[in-house]
């Protein structure tokens, strides 16, 4: 029994998706000549600006391709579903966005992505383009605090990319954009919960089992097992579990500001995300924190997985300014 999808051949899904994206958003996006899997902002890269290249596997839309556009990422390298892109499209991205000020790679901390993007960076170095790399590691569920640097990057990408993209848009130097990106990453924490599996277009099988009354706390955005599996709880209890962990990690003081993302994994209705947001905001108020901005919706998905994550970015003046800075992407705008 195959899972139900509105696709043609599973092998063609990513390329056909990109066709559909370029047809819908041709005003903002184009494919690089050198690679159809390198999607570039029409109005992003410019001389003297640090180029920001993001990327990773497909299946997380609008992450990554949807965050390409002026003020955010200059290009995205697109992999197969849940698979890092090979070096070629990443290198094509670098070539397209290099404005002479260097290029920053940003992507989630996964072994495959690291190997492929590193190879691309080596190839870029041979063309005398300086490429630096910042990995996102916002998923607090994926490793204990003493091994933070091994954590996965998940929905918090959204804030971390946004901050770095705004820094580059402000024409900061490569060193400065890299500093901002690392700072944003350290200040961003995400915790997720999955209620159902997802399925790859090529296999059309559920990629893991979850009992009819179960949820998994901390599941990764590719269905990687999380921290713990247990009975499905009410929304407030789920959010409390998330917020307790996030507060622990964040170490914010009363009066501090945060930006919030309540993210759906693909099959969870906005109704549920807003019900979660109600509790998130209640917990922030109780902790004496101020919500500077809130986004609710599907920002980093896992195909048709049901579930959600909460991300808090602990702001300072610089991060608040960068998060507020306008951007114009195919699937995300700040005005």
């Amino acid at each position: 029994m195959r899972t139900k999808k509105i696709i043609n051949a599973g092998e063609d899904a990513v390329d056909e998706m990109l066709d559909g994206i370029l047809l819908a958003h041709g005003d903002v996006l184009r494919a690089a000549d050198a690679s159809p899997r390198a999607i570039v902002a029409r109005d992003g890269p410019r001389p003297g600006k640090v180029g920001l290249v993001i990327g990773g596997g497909s299946g997380h839309e609008p992450t990554f391709v949807g965050f390409v556009g002026r003020g955010l990422a200059d290009a995205a390298a697109i992999g197969n579903v849940f698979a890092s892109p090979p070096p070629d499209p990443a290198l094509a991205c670098v070539q397209e966005v290099d404005g002479g000020a260097g290029v920053l790679f940003m992507y989630g901390n996964y072994a495959g992505d690291v190997m492929n993007f590193d190879m691309a960076a080596e190839m870029a170095a041979m063309e005398d383009i300086v490429v630096r790399t910042v990995l996102t590691t916002d998923d607090v569920a994926s490793a204990p605090p003493d091994a933070k640097e091994t954590r996965r990057g998940v929905a918090g990408n959204f804030f971390i990319f946004k901050a770095a993209g705004a820094a580059a848009d402000e024409m900061m130097s490569l060193e400065e954009v890299e500093r901002v990106a690392r700072h944003a990453n350290v200040r961003t924490h995400t915790m997720g919960v999955a209620l159902s599996p997802c399925s790859l277009p090529q296999t059309r099988r559920w990629n893991f089992d979850l009992g009819p009354e179960e949820m998994e706390i901390g599941m990764g955005i590719h269905g990687e097992p999380g921290i713990a599996r247990g009975p499905l709880k009410p929304a407030d209890a789920i959010v409390d579990e998330m917020m307790d962990r996030i507060f622990d990690e964040m170490g914010a003081a009363r009066g501090d500001r945060v930006a919030v993302l309540v993210n759906g994994l693909g099959a969870t209705p906005l109704m549920e995300l807003y019900i979660m947001n109600r509790r998130v905001q209640a917990r922030l108020v109780r902790a004496g924190l101020t919500t500077h901005a809130t986004w609710v919706g599907n920002y980093c998905t896992s195909l048709e997985m049901a579930g959600a994550s909460v991300t808090c970015m602990h702001l300072d003046d610089e991060l608040a300014r960068l998060i507020d800075r306008p951007c114009h992407c195919a699937m995300f705008r700040v005005v």
Binding site: E11, G57, G79, N80, V81, F82, A83, S84, P85, P86, P87, D88, Y110, A111, G112, M115, N116, M119, S142, A143, T150, R152, L200, Q202, T203, R205, N207, F208, G220, H222, G223, E224, P225
Partner: protein
Amino acid sequence: MAVTGADLIGAFAAIAAKMAAERDALCALDGEIGDGDHGIGMALGFGAVREALAELGDDAAPTEVLNTAARAFLSAVGASTGPLYATALMRAGAAVKGKDVLADGDAAALIAAMAEGIAHRGKAAPGQKTMLDAWVPAAAAAEAADGSFAEVLAAAAAAAEAGAEATAEMQATMGRAARLGERSLGHRDPGAVSAAMLIGVLAETLR
């Protein structure tokens, strides 16, 4: 016996067929401790290798075959396996550079080069529950085997098989499964299982 470039092309075609047949089983293994796509990458990658090699003439030198395979695998796959197998195949190509045909002694060199390439690119060590836990024992067995090309590969295949089985008892400390801690116990590593399949097909075809 002497192994030609054409023999290698035939071996890669057999690997492609094997990975296509085992695609869903490998995905299921990866679903237990990873992201469920390992079979897709292996099938896609060796499918692309087979297609790229079909463009080469039957007189292609072993190094050219291995280098072509490396590039084709990498561009088609990405993921973790792309760089790992691309590097392995590049190393294998370098190890037999200049040779028109491979002799018995080259079998161990090929397997050793593959293992080194994977270790170099992935920075893992044996015991971390990765494909290296198939490749490193395979290289050691090949080194020790000292017989015909086919006998060396058979020894390597048996060791890889045992190595892959042994990963079930390992706790992952590398790759996606590392975040699982103890929950990775009891599951074989998909990359080690596919490595054992790959070496098994080599042993069956290059004889």
